[in-house]
């Protein structure tokens, strides 16, 4: 499943650089596109604002198919406090921008699967594909507003793949 998770993240990261190159974060002294995988970063007390955080949760395997089909749930969380020049009064607009960006990043809903444990990444034989996002209600909390989108990601488990 790790190849699928890596491919999903890299695909969204690359698409984000096309959709909104200005959405970046400074993480571990490196400026990078504003998307991260929670389980691949140091534990954080608070989520990063104005960035997309991927959290992998559900997992099911459908074994009765020509290849086992892994079905994973990815929760994509994002929050914003708006911008300082507008005293945060634009946080609703900022969240809407992130809603739209995420929709664009998730389309088309498939990508060729790559093995990122090698350099350069190795092409695999199948593609991963995913569902339409299910946007959860926006959650206001003090000066911030956040939302989670649920996406189901599927991946055929190729021979030798863990």
């Amino acid at each position: 499943m790790q190849n699928a998770k890596d491919t999903f993240y890299i695909t969204l990261r690359n698409r984000l650089t096309q959709v909104n190159p200005a959405r970046t974060i400074l993480l571990r002294s490196v400026t990078r596109p504003g998307i991260l995988v929670e389980e691949a970063e140091s534990p954080m007390a608070l989520p990063v604002l104005d960035a997309f955080t991927l959290r992998w949760t559900g997992l099911a395997i459908l074994p009765q198919l020509p290849l086992p089909l892994a079905q994973m749930t990815c929760e994509i969380y994002y929050s914003t406090a708006g911008t300082q020049p507008n005293s945060g009064l634009d946080r609703g607009r900022a969240l809407e921008e992130m809603d739209a960006e995420l929709q664009q990043m998730l389309s088309p809903q498939c990508a060729p699967k790559l093995n990122y444990t090698t350099t350069p990444p190795g092409a695999m034989l199948t593609s991963i594909f995913w569902s339409e996002p299910e946007f959860q209600p926006a959650v206001p909390l003090r000066d911030q507003i956040s939302r989670t989108a649920l996406v189901t990601v599927w991946s055929w488990q190729e021979a030798g793949e863990r």
Binding site: P66, E132, P137, V139, W154
Partner: protein, 379 residues
């Protein structure tokens, strides 16, 4: 020696089915051809001519209704041979968009354009429209599929954003009429009151006007019949009307494409389809009922956010491949069944497939199913 990696023959996965239609030349009885040996890899957004993209459809189902019989002999009788007693198949689907073409396909019979009534109105009105305002002529030259050249005095009678029908006057023709698409079959001039606007009333050669200049009308979409002939005239239309009833059967070629997630493609090519039902709609609630699902850890420790994060709308998953053929009459009709919920209205359509002859072996068939496997998959 080199070997290429491979995977087993795969289970196609997809979410949607895309539909393309093309008119059948009724006069010469020639359906549009989809040849997978030529066009299997066409871009779904730009199908090869003459196919018209009608977008993603839903509830696509197809069913063979061919009948089989047996030749039995002996005592007790036992089957010696099987025979095909009849060849038949039906297709049903729902169009999510409403347009001239999708409405006409779903209605199956003549599909009329609503021409603004001339004033004063003659008679007591009519369900499909009264005698229309006068049509205007095109200039002898200068028109294209997206531009209608006409005199400035005629052009000012149209507004940007309006709809127009472009076709020839009815002058007593009998048989199939309509440019680009056979839109109706005229038995006699008397049957259509020798109305010079009749062909424009049924034509598929319609478009929306994008802008108006002193030299003519620029259209927002190309005319289905291509460059208009100088003999054609232009008439404003308000919208479309179809009827339950009518003696005419439209006939279309259809191509349905399932684009799999692994790059595979499944094509269903029906050379000849005719509607088997009248105009029907299906209503689907816009909002799915909310349901509580097992929670996952909230991203923040806030109780409020945790509560909300645990809520999840149970989105209605839409299957495009139903297990059985729904009757067109079984479509969920507009009714108070959904209370005051907003609903989206789809056009429900059902078709019967008619046969053609396969040039490769002379067999009579009604549908061609083509499968292009994904790269690397064993076959």
């Amino acid at each position: 020696m080199s070997t290429s990696p491979s995977i087993p023959a795969m289970t196609p996965t997809t979410r949607r089915v895309r539909a393309y239609f093309a008119p059948v030349n009724r006069t010469q009885a020639q359906p549009a051809v989809f040849d997978p040996s030529l066009n299997a890899n066409f871009s779904l957004d730009s199908p090869p001519a003459p196919w018209i993209d009608l977008g993603w459809i839903e509830a696509f189902t197809r069913k063979s209704t061919s009948k089989y019989g047996v030749l039995a002999a002996g005592s007790p009788a036992n089957t010696q041979y099987q025979v095909r007693e009849s060849l038949d198949a039906v297709v049903s689907l729902r169009f999510t968009s409403w347009s001239k073409l999708t409405m006409a396909l779903a209605a199956g019979s003549q599909h009329m354009n609503v021409i603004p009534a001339a004033t004063p109105v003659s008679g007591n009105g009519n369900g499909s429209g009264s005698k229309g305002v006068s049509a205007v002529s095109l200039s002898a030259t200068g028109s294209t599929a997206t531009f209608l050249a006409m005199a400035s005095t005629d052009a000012i009678s149209f507004q940007a954003g309006s709809l127009v029908a472009v076709d020839v006057d009815y002058t007593g023709q009998t048989g199939y009429v309509g440019s680009g698409v056979s839109a109706a079959y005229v038995l006699s001039a008397a049957a259509v009151n020798s109305d010079p606007d009749y062909i424009r009333r049924v034509t598929f050669n319609v478009a929306r006007v994008q802008s108006v200049t002193s030299t003519g009308l620029t259209l927002a979409q190309p005319l289905i019949a291509g460059v208009p002939a100088a003999a054609m005239k232009v008439q404003p239309i308000l919208g479309f009307v179809d009827r339950e009833g009518g003696s005419f059967f439209q006939e279309w070629s259809a191509l349905f494409v399932i684009a799999g997630d692994q790059g595979e493609r499944i094509f269903y090519y029906y050379p000849r389809l005719q509607a088997i039902g009248g105009a029907e709609e299906a209503a689907t609630p816009l909002t799915a009922p909310a349901a509580t699902v097992a929670s996952s850890r909230p991203f923040t420790s806030s109780t409020a956010s945790a509560n909300v994060a645990n809520l999840r709308n149970a989105a209605a998953t839409h299957t495009t491949q139903a297990g059985s053929m729904p009757s067109p009459t079984a479509a969920q009709m507009l009714s108070p069944a959904h209370g005051n919920q907003s609903e989206r209205i789809s056009l429900a359509a059902g078709f019967r497939a008619l046969p053609v002859t396969d040039a490769n072996d002379g067999e009579r068939v009604v549908c061609f199913r083509t499968f292009i496997p994904p790269v690397f998959a064993l076959v």
